[in-house]
């Protein structure tokens, strides 16, 4: 990009610049519709043929005071003609709807980057709210950026005039003006958004017309106005052939749960209590009644998990989803599912903790809670999704393991991948094998034994309604085989060890972990969960510079893949980047006696690629 800086944009000549990738952020009040704009920009980009990664960033307050710093909501999208693993560190273009939005986000804009602002919003009042003593559009402090100060409110009002809308309704469309301008700047098609508007506002023709006009007005403003900088052309990405759709992590999780239900022939039951950032799973599933999905919005987190356990006892695929504080409440229920050995999937969309913490921000600090956080010796398999689309595969995996091993399974995702979107290559039907777990029907000659086990150590799933298999289960210790209540000391230790062995045995049924790069050497970076994109990008970039670094990414955290220990032993140094104070590192050190070092960040934000690169370079240099 050029370093031309000017507030007098009229002089800048219009030309098309070809780029391989770009990162754009839209920022405004939490009521300005920035998430919607970002979402539409994403859809248009993937349909155009780019690879994308997104990062919505919004405040916990639904409507913080307009124009205030606390109320700024942002949406970042990184798109390009090459593979995109992260939403990008710095942004190339920032669209700020008011001074506060500009102030909060300006630090992330590249020097020389494009800053588009709504000039009309830079009023005395708004400048005060954003704690600007003078108008930054006039005092010369933006000279490092290419500034496009456009009277968006005014232009938008002109565009939607005559439709009989009041001021407020007119102004509500200005996000689409901004979107239209962004579409023009980056040569995106309008059709996906126009189609979306048609569907969304089919019954509100005036709103449909207003938004359509706003979108087109923004686009045409770019096209016809003399007041514009370079437009960009981002080529299509070389993406593996197949049919794609855009998904965020929560959607992909929900689709995975339904898919597992169809693959296993077991009706899906999803119990949940509203909680950020997991609620969208509930919303998505409540809509999908054509798949026979039962959603139960329970009175609390405890009832949500207990309802799922009750449903599982009745033969359903019982699932529940929440975030950290809700996990804490579900703990006793998960213990019950361990004791009664019923299939159950618990999804934790991790957020910043402890306690209420940072509800809308991301973190990876619930790993200990997932692996260890229950009373008694209470082993639970733990999986973690690496990317938004991977949430689909791991949700199916969580259900498969739960059903095949008759055990609760915890699936960890996080706020970052739950809300972030990427293109998902839809798997062919034959890539999804059936999950064949029939209900038990045999009575046996000596009567039914509810705690007799198969080769996986799973007990039979005999559901109410089956004659001759009447039996009782519960949270009290069970006698081996008969399942009768037992206080016998030897039996208790035997059962504790048996439950542990059952969960460890899952190792035989999960894929080995693959090393990215040489499978021995100087430094191994070990990641898990939603940090995949940042770690992968950093490692690949350094590998291109011939740095001696390899990486693995863990999606199975309890038990670990069978080959993990031997991989770890083949590297001199191990670096574990995590968005916590070192929970995976702690587990790896205790389990494999390796001297793993950590790279830790706990700011409610995902890793940036440059941060990881620096940590790797530091680790390579360290003695």
């Amino acid at each position: 990009m050029t370093s031309t800086a000017s507030t007098d944009v009229a002089k800048i000549k219009k030309q098309i610049e070809e780029i391989t990738r770009a990162t754009v952020r839209f920022a405004g009040d939490s009521g300005d519709g920035m998430q919607l704009v970002g979402d539409q920009f994403t859809t248009s980009s993937v349909i155009f043929g780019n690879d994308v990664a997104t990062l919505p960033d919004y405040p916990a307050e639904i409507r913080a005071p307009a124009g205030s710093l606390a109320g700024v909501s942002g949406f970042q999208i990184h798109f390009g003609g090459t593979e995109i693993y992260t939403p990008g560190d710095k942004v190339d273009a920032l669209f700020a709807m008011n001074p506060a939005a500009m102030k909060v986000n300006l630090g992330d804009l590249e020097k020389g980057g494009l800053l588009v602002v709504n000039k009309d919003a830079f009023t005395k009042e708004n400048l005060e709210k954003a704690a600007y003593e003078s108008n930054p559009l006039e005092d010369g402090r933006l000279k490092e950026y290419k500034v496009l100060a456009i009277p968006i409110t005014t232009l938008n009002r002109e565009a939607v005039e005559g439709l009989g809308l009041d001021r407020k309704a007119m102004d509500r469309c200005k996000n689409f003006f901004t979107l239209g301008l962004a579409f023009w700047l980056y040569d995106r098609p309008l059709e996906p958004t126009l189609n979306w508007l048609q569907q969304k506002f089919a019954k509100k023709p005036d709103i449909l017309e207003a938004n359509t006009r706003s979108l087109k007005a923004g686009y045409h403003f770019g096209e016809t106005s003399e007041l514009i900088v370079n437009a960009y052309k981002v080529h299509k990405a070389k993406i593996a052939p197949g049919t794609y759709r855009k998904v965020n992590g929560n959607e992909a999780t929900a689709i995975g749960l339904i898919a597992a239900s169809l693959l296993s022939g077991k009706p899906l039951f999803y119990g949940s209590y509203p909680i950020t950032p997991a609620s969208d799973i509930l919303h998505y599933l409540s809509e999908k009644k054509e798949y026979g999905v039962i959603t139960f919005q329970a009175e609390d987190e405890i009832a949500a998990v207990c309802g799922a356990i009750g449903a599982a006892f009745g033969g359903a695929l019982g699932t529940t989803g929440t975030s950290g504080p809700g996990m804490a409440l579900k703990t006793e229920g998960i213990g019950l599912a361990v004791m009664t050995e019923l299939p159950l999937v618990i999804i934790n969309v991790q957020r910043g903790g402890p306690s209420t913490g940072l509800p809308t921000k991301t973190e990876q600090a619930d790993l200990f809670q997932a692996i260890l956080g229950r009373n008694g010796e209470c082993p639970v398999p733990v999986l973690a999704s690496a990317t938004p689309a991977d949430c689909f595969h791991m949700a199916v995996e969580a259900c498969r393991i739960a059903l095949q091993f008759m055990t609760p399974v915890i699936l960890l995702t996080d706020g970052y991948i739950a809300n972030g979107a990427e293109p998902w290559r839809i798997p062919a039907l034959e890539e999804l094998p059936p999950i064949d777990v029939p209900y038990w029907t045999q009575t046996g000659s000596n009567g039914f034994k509810p705690y007799l086990r198969n080769e996986r150590l799973a007990r039979p799933w005999a559901v109410p309604g089956t004659p001759g298999l009447e039996h009782r289960i519960g949270g009290l210790e069970k006698q081996h085989i008969t399942g009768n209540v037992s206080y016998d000391p030897q039996n208790h230790e035997y059962m504790v060890r048996l439950r542990d062995e059952k969960v460890n045995g899952i190792q035989e049924d999960i894929p080995l972990v693959e090393v990215n790069g040489g499978d021995s050497g100087e430094l191994l970076v070990v990641g898990w969960g939603g940090t995949y994109g940042a770690i992968m990008t950093a490692v690949e970039q350094l590998q291109e510079e011939n740095k001696p670094v390899s990486s693995i990414h863990l999606r199975y955290l309890n038990p670990f893949p069978k080959n993990l220990g031997s991989i770890l032993s083949r590297f001199k140094k191990i670096l574990v980047p995590e968005l916590n104070l070192g929970q995976l590192r702690y587990v790896l050190r205790s389990k494999y006696l390796v001297d793993a070092a950590g790279f830790n960040k706990v700011q409610g934000k995902p890793f940036q690629v440059n941060e990881i690169k620096q940590a790797i370079l530091d680790a390579l240099e360290a003695e």
């Binding site: 349909i47 043929g49 004659p467």
Partner: protein, 341 residues
């Protein structure tokens, strides 16, 4: 009519499991267990169709003693477990055995919400007004001032009235009976089983170890006539050894009157109507407490309202009829898709 030899009649004994019953000798729970078996036999509900779900406490051992499906869950959560089970398997007969501590203290929230949703389950609350399994602490139904291990100076907790709570969330079936009043208990349980929607039954149950005699006023032969009033649909509220007393509704209050005194006749008495849509009168009845009033037993309220699991299933069927059943393919390819060659 001769009974078909292929379908042998189930007897009460058939509903008992092979497990040794481990309640204290003399516990009121034995009587409830035996009336429950009789009720299921009377209704001939197949054993495999019955599920007993419980929480924690003496009463919650109930499922182990029934030769049906059973789930001894965690403290207070039985209504939630039962709700999940019933909405996935509406054809099952689902029962919740709970106590005053389990159902009203730690599990109060779940009880409220199961009832207000009108899930078709039968909740049997064994009310002994004490924590038994943990050996004698005050419970949410213990009387004010009660001295227990945890309240050596007397309880300062105002007790909850279970039936008032259930009526407060508009339970569609509310009843009360007494452990030793076996015939009445069997009738109430049977009515509860027949009701579609949540049936909430409070049973006065004597804990002879930690709270013996809590209901002596209601069970003692010489006392009970003055302290218990049996509700009968369409009948005036009468009680007393010679049925000489009654309940009159006057100035928005209930009062005890004696027939023949001060010109009171049977026509002045409140006539019980369990089918009244408005639960207010039932609420007044539920608040009648010894020693100011005789305490009513029987069915306080029985009204019809669609049950929760039926509404859920109907929504699913409606969508499936309209859109057809979803397939894996329709699931994966829904929304905007594009193809890369």
């Amino acid at each position: 009519m001769a009974v078909s030899p292929q379908i042998p009649q189930l007897t009460p004994k058939d509903y008992g499991s092979d497990q040794d019953v481990r309640w204290c000798p003399g516990c009121g729970d034995y009587s409830i267990l035996s009336q429950m078996k009789k009720t299921l036999a009377a209704l001939q509900i197949p054993r495999e169709k019955c599920v007993f779900v419980s929480g924690i406490g003496c009463s919650s051992r109930f499922p182990y003693y029934m030769n049906t499906y059973g789930f001894h869950s965690i403290h207070g959560r039985a209504p939630a477990v039962a709700t999940g089970l019933k909405i996935s398997r509406p054809e099952l007969s689902v029962w919740v055995a709970t106590g005053d501590g389990d159902g009203l203290s730690i599990g109060g929230n779940h009880l409220i919400h199961a009832i207000r949703r009108n899930v078709d389950i039968n909740i049997i609350l064994f009310n002994n007004r004490i924590y038994g399994l943990t050996k004698g602490q005050v419970s949410p139904t213990s009387e004010f001032g009660k001295k227990t291990k945890s309240t050596p100076w007397g309880s300062v907790d105002n007790p909850v009235r279970p039936l008032s709570l259930a009526l407060g969330v508009e339970a569609t079936f509310v009843a009360r009976s007494i452990d030793v009043h076996v015939k009445h208990l069997a009738e109430v349980l049977e009515a509860a089983a027949r009701h579609k929607g949540t049936s909430f039954v409070e049973i006065y149950q004597n804990c002879n170890i930690f709270n013996d005699g809590a209901y002596l006023y209601a069970t003692d032969r010489s006392l009970k006539f003055d302290n218990i009033i049996e509700l009968q649909h369409g009948q005036p509220l009468r009680f007393g050894k010679n049925n000489e007393k009654g309940i009159r509704f006057k100035d928005y209050h209930l009062e005890v009157v004696t027939i023949g005194e001060e010109g009171v006749t049977e026509d002045d008495l409140l006539v019980h109507n369990e089918e009244r849509e408005d639960p207010s009168l039932a609420f007044l009845l539920a608040n009648m407490s010894y020693p100011q009033f005789p305490e009513p037993i029987g069915i306080f309220r029985r009204v019809e309202r669609p049950s929760y699991e039926t509404l859920i299933q109907e929504q699913i069927q409606e969508v499936q009829q309209k859109q057809g059943k979803g397939t894996l393919e329709s699931l994966l390819y829904s929304g905007e898709t594009w193809t890369v060659e």
